[in-house]
């Protein structure tokens, strides 16, 4: 066989490989049992967002075990939660299939997920049509704006995170920023927010760089953004790219305390990945991440601290993504308790008027507000001595 044939076979293989990868992990399915409430989860267990999916899955299993210790009183029966967790391979098309399968085959009462904005968007029409409530962990504001009857979310909306950062910038007298963002709908949403703020004249966006979610070295991007001499760099990425960004900026001698990360940057994985370069970095997140420092004076703070302690003890480390999924499941359960019914329609009605203190923060759902967590639950954390701590910008 000649070289040319090899190459032809190879190019065919390139296509095959890029389409046919990812491994499906599925757990438990089917079996109608009136003593159980079936809740589906559409998660990124493989693919580029697997870091998130793994944390979500762990959090859901932990919350499920806690709930099933006592069970949920529905009418005169005590029911247990049965989770059906399916992998969407971080792929929007796959997420659509998963959502349909959860609704049509598993007859779930509600869905947790998807875990990211790109995978959530295609589910929305499916959930609306089937009238099954879903709570997403995607951060894009487009998920709940305009409000769709059955669609809710837990993380802070992009514009809310932007607001929190803007307040921090005002305190630090930061006027010129550069944005480093991952080239997918998540990073795009962040970038658009800053471009809008720039257009409105509220901040000066001097330059921005996009990078692929599989990139392994960000020196070039860091060189370009630091060359524009911004007062601060804003990073919209998840691990490991968030850590690589920190490393590359440090290489360019850009001070760590002038770098601001979105909630997605990750907790321990970020610090581990960036090493010493993470020191001083700021991130907008719930205070749950500084769990050790929380003084539990209010029930809300107590819930956050408890979740941090329990998760850290069970899995030997904490993830900033975990509380988002934990709250999604707890919100569904709270709605079932409140309405006294596990019927999808009743869950939707109860969710829409629910106030809840969760692990990630406080939720005030209403017919016009389907999430996420309220701005007051978010704060600006800083890496001090290798751990996320409360900062002077809180």
């Amino acid at each position: 066989m000649s070289t040319r044939h090899w190459v032809a076979a190879g190019l065919a293989a390139v296509v095959t490989l890029s389409v046919g990868t990812g491994c499906a992990k599925e757990q438990s399915s089917g079996g109608d049992d009136s003593s159980q409430i079936v809740i589906g989860a559409d998660l990124e267990l493989s693919g580029p967002a697997a870091v998130q999916g793994e944390a979500y899955q762990r959090a859901l299993k932990m919350v499920q075990a806690d709930i099933n210790k006592t069970g949920i009183k529905v009418g005169d029966k005590t029911k247990k939660v049965k989770l059906v967790i399916r992998d969407n391979k971080s792929d929007p098309a796959e997420s659509l299939t998963v959502a349909k399968s959860l609704i049509n085959n598993d007859h779930v009462a509600a869905i947790v997920g998807a875990g990211a904005s790109p995978t959530t968007m295609p589910m929305i029409p499916v959930a609306e049509k089937a009238k099954i409530p879903m709570i997403s962990m995607g951060s894009s504001g487009a998920i709940v704006n305009p409000v769709q009857k059955y669609v809710f979310k837990t993380p802070g909306n992009t514009d809310v995170i932007g607001n929190v950062m803007m307040k921090a910038f005002a305190k630090k007298k930061i006027k010129k920023i550069a944005v480093l963002s991952v080239d997918n709908p998540y990073g795009e949403a962040g970038l658009k927010e800053w471009q809008a703020l720039d257009k409105a004249g509220k901040i000066d966006l001097v330059t921005n760089q996009k990078f692929s979610d599989s990139v392994k070295d960000l020196s070039v991007q860091a060189t370009k953004v630091t060359a524009a001499k911004p007062d601060a760099v804003v990073v919209w990425a998840i691990p490991p790219q968030s850590g690589l960004a920190a490393k590359a900026l440090r290489q360019k001698k850009f001070p760590g305390d002038k770098v601001y990360y979105d909630t997605g940057a990750g907790s321990e994985l970020f610090v581990k990945g960036a090493g010493a370069a993470s020191e001083g970095s700021y991130m907008v997140h719930s205070r749950v991440l500084a769990g050790n420092e929380i003084t539990a004076t209010t029930p809300a703070a107590q819930t956050e601290k408890n979740f941090f302690t329990e998760y850290s003890a069970k899995y030997g480390g904490f993830s900033g993504f975990a509380p988002m999924a934990a709250d999604a499941l707890n919100l569904i359960v709270a709605a079932i308790k409140k309405g006294g019914s596990a019927d999808p329609q009743d869950i939707q009605k109860s969710l829409e008027n629910l106030s809840y203190d969760g692990a990630f923060g406080t939720y005030q759902f209403s017919p016009t507000n389907h999430g996420g967590v309220s701005e007051s639950s978010l704060t600006v954390l800083q890496v001090k001595n290798g751990t996320w701590s409360l900062s002077d910008l809180g």
């Binding site: 090899w6 990868t21 999916g53 990078f211 070039v220 060189t223 490991p240 690589l244």
Partner: protein, 293 residues
């Protein structure tokens, strides 16, 4: 100017990773005629194992040796399982099998090690190196140094030892080689062993820089494939040149493309591949005239 230098430095360093993968692919292609699409998985497997062992406080040298040993075993298993399955002369079947093996290896890594990235410590601590306005992580010195040593060793073996001659003879004409007492099957086993070891070494030196997770193998394998093809596919030196070229072009693309287009940099390796195939179908380092037989 200092920016251009930085882009080139970054390009050469990331390119050295592609070169190592490409070298493995080219070696196997040269001797067996098979393109090993699981080559990137050797890099992933060794890097991941090395990082996991380090996280469990295994000393660096031990962790590296263990990761190397496991990866080489996987390479041997792959060769024994995949190559004898092909009908005589049908390398395309074996190529498909390597793709299957690649997905299996990734799947096993997903299930056993998990999907989170793992982090290894750099071999030597310290601030980044600086020269003429450019900076470079210290670990890249190890990458470049070890890659250079390994490439030199491969070249010496191929040109100065009986085994090397036998390998090259097999590459040129398996039947004639068999008539002179060389076992093509043994040569193919040897070359898979060498390629797995190459991939493993690459994975280990890159682990502190690239925080490997179970999914990195396919991307690296494809970039390595591009490097090998650009370099002429059956020329080890060409694969190295091809890898460095792909790295530099990628870095320059992300450096000089306007911000709104900066997302395209990742695909540029394949654009280079297409251009190279059209302009120089036989590879960068090969004379265009005269097909070698």
């Amino acid at each position: 100017m200092s920016e251009l230098l930085q882009y080139v430095v970054t390009g050469l360093t990331t390119g050295s990773a592609y070169a190592l993968v490409g070298l493995g692919i080219a070696l196997i292609a040269q001797v067996t005629g098979v393109i090993n699409f699981a080559q990137g998985q050797f890099v992933m497997l060794a890097g991941l194992l090395f990082a996991v062992l380090q996280e469990h406080r295994v000393p660096t040298v031990l962790a590296a040796l263990a990761a190397l040993a496991v990866t080489v075993l996987v390479g041997l298993a792959l060769e024994r399982l995949v190559l004898p399955r092909q009908a005589a002369g049908r390398t395309d079947q074996a190529i498909m099998l390597t793709i299957g093996a690649s997905i299996v290896i990734e799947g096993i890594a997903f299930v056993t090690i998990g999907t989170e990235p793992k982090f290894a410590r750099p071999f030597t601590a310290g601030e980044a190196l600086r020269f003429g306005g450019a900076s470079m992580d210290r670990q890249y010195l190890w990458v470049i140094g070890i890659a250079a040593l390994v490439m030199l060793a491969v070249w010496l073996v191929l040109t100065h030892t009986r085994t090397g001659w036998a390998m090259r003879a097999t590459a040129m004409d398996p039947d004639a080689a068999r008539l002179s007492g060389i076992s093509p099957s043994r040569m193919s086993l040897l070359v898979f062993l060498a390629a797995a070891a190459l991939g493993a070494i690459g994975g280990i030196v890159l682990a502190p820089l690239q925080s490997p997770d179970a999914s990195v193998g396919i991307g690296l394998g494809l970039k390595g494939f591009a490097a090998a093809v650009i370099g002429g596919l059956d020329r080890p030196a060409g694969a190295v040149a091809g890898g460095l070229a792909v790295g530099v072009v990628e870095a320059l693309a992300s450096g000089y493309l306007p911000s709104s287009q900066s997302g395209f940099a990742d695909g540029i390796a394949y654009a280079v591949l297409l251009v190279a195939l059209i302009a120089r179908p036989t590879g960068l380092l090969r004379r265009v005239t005269g097909e070698r037989v």
